[in-house]
């Protein structure tokens, strides 16, 4: 401190500290670094949200497809041919539960068990934008097992970025009633 005091008194001495140019360059560099870092941070946050959305879609899609596949596997799927995948509802005659109907309502999958009314089975935070059934072999004595392909597109409802996952799976019914008991 003594040193600088002496320097200020003597005008010929080069002053210590930063010049305006140095300060400007420093703040320029600092702001570039700060912007880069925050851009990366924002990108990571966005990706994290995206991952979270995919996870929600996955949770719902897995549940719905599993529930449907389990029901289709044991049920009689009678006279509902839909070789162009136009069917949006499916009626299954379940050996234990009775008649089970699946349908889509405003992006939510609903199930009606034994005429007890439709109940939501997918979450409200995902949107089933498409739910079609391709049904083959459901006719009486057509010498085929009923084969149901579930075609669905699932989106997240919340968040900036809307992701869509197009899913499809097929289940063959193990139920042979339509091939033998209904001649």
């Amino acid at each position: 401190m003594k040193n600088s005091k002496f320097k200020i008194l003597n005008f010929k001495i080069k002053e210590a500290g930063f010049t305006i140019v140095e300060v400007l360059i420093t703040s320029l560099i600092f702001s570039i670094i700060a912007m880069t870092v925050s851009a990366i941070f924002i990108q990571i946050i966005n990706l994290e949200r995206r991952g979270f959305a995919v996870q929600k879609i996955q949770d719902n899609a897995l549940l719905i497809l599993e529930e449907m596949s389990r029901d289709i596997r044991v049920s009689r799927v009678s006279n509902q041919e839909s070789s162009n995948c136009a069917a949006t509802t499916i009626t299954l005659i379940h050996p234990l539960k009775g008649t089970v109907v699946y349908q889509l309502s405003n992006g939510v999958v609903q199930r009606n068990v034994a005429g007890g009314g439709f109940v939501d089975i997918s979450g409200s935070d995902v949107n089933f934008a498409r739910m079609n059934f391709c049904i083959l072999g459901s006719l009486v004595n057509d010498n085929q097992s009923p084969r149901v392909s579930i075609v669905t597109s699932v989106q997240n409802r919340t968040g900036k970025e809307i992701m869509q996952i197009d899913l499809q799976t097929t289940t063959t019914s193990r139920n042979v009633l339509d091939e033998f008991s209904y001649p």
């Binding site: 003594k2 040193n3 002496f6 320097k7 008194l9 003597n10 010929k12 001495i13 670094i33 880069t36 870092v37 990366i40 941070f41 990108q43 990571i44 990706l47 994290e48 995206r50 991952g51 995919v54 996870q55 996955q58 899609a61 897995l62 497809l65 596949s69 070789s83 995948c85 498409r130 079609n132 391709c134 083959l136 072999g137 010498n143 085929q144 097992s145 084969r147 392909s149 075609v151 669905t152 597109s153 992701m163 996952i165 197009d166 899913l167 499809q168 799976t169 097929t170 289940t171 063959t172 042979v176 091939e179």
Partner: protein, 182 residues
């Protein structure tokens, strides 16, 4: 410092100037040296590198999860369609493995027979429906491998393979055994 302070207190400001100039020119302390700047850049890069790696990892993980989910369902479909073919053989009074000889094939949701593998084109997506005839190509390629273990048992392996960004090949496989139990 002790020496300098003594000089100052004894001889005053004029001497300080000389001391100060001599000090600076001898040690050349103005600004950063090239080495210092380089070291600073290396440190900065080391700090930013992991952040960038992290962000690209998160991005590819979301994509892998998504593709895994689709592929798992598509591979399940392969198994179920082969089962439907086995059942149809029975209904038509044929041996259970008619048209299901050993080999690698393709299959789609409405197949009534196995499709020759050929060049194994990717599945197409048309209005949500994965098939081989119409729509835009997806990344997924499905194969169905049939092995006759013995006269009453077939092993079916349905594999869906795809290439992630960065040319990493991934696949999902499902296995099922079909028996001649009728």
């Amino acid at each position: 410092m002790n020496n300098e302070q003594k000089t100052m207190s004894r001889e005053g400001a004029i001497n300080v100037k000389i001391t100060s100039d001599a000090h600076c020119s001898m040690l050349n302390e103005f600004g950063f040296t090239l080495i210092e700047a380089l070291v600073a850049l290396v440190v900065l890069t080391l700090a930013l590198g992991p952040a960038l790696v992290l962000s690209s990892n998160i991005s590819s993980t979301a994509s892998v999860i998504q593709h895994n989910l689709i592929a798992a369902n598509l591979s399940q479909e392969g198994l179920e369609v082969v089962r439907a073919l086995r059942d149809a053989n029975w209904y038509n009074g044929l041996p259970f493995d008619t048209g299901l000889s050993d080999g690698i094939y393709r299959i789609e949701w409405n197949s009534n027979t196995l499709i020759a593998l050929g060049a194994n084109p990717p599945l197409k997506l048309s209005a949500g429906l994965y098939n081989y005839s119409s729509g835009t190509d997806t990344v997924f390629k499905r194969t169905v491998t049939i092995t006759k273990i013995n006269s009453e048992e077939l092993r079916i392996i349905s594999a869906v393979a795809w290439t992630e960004r960065g040319s990493r090949v991934r696949d999902v496989r499902a296995e099922s055994h079909l028996f001649d139990w009728k």
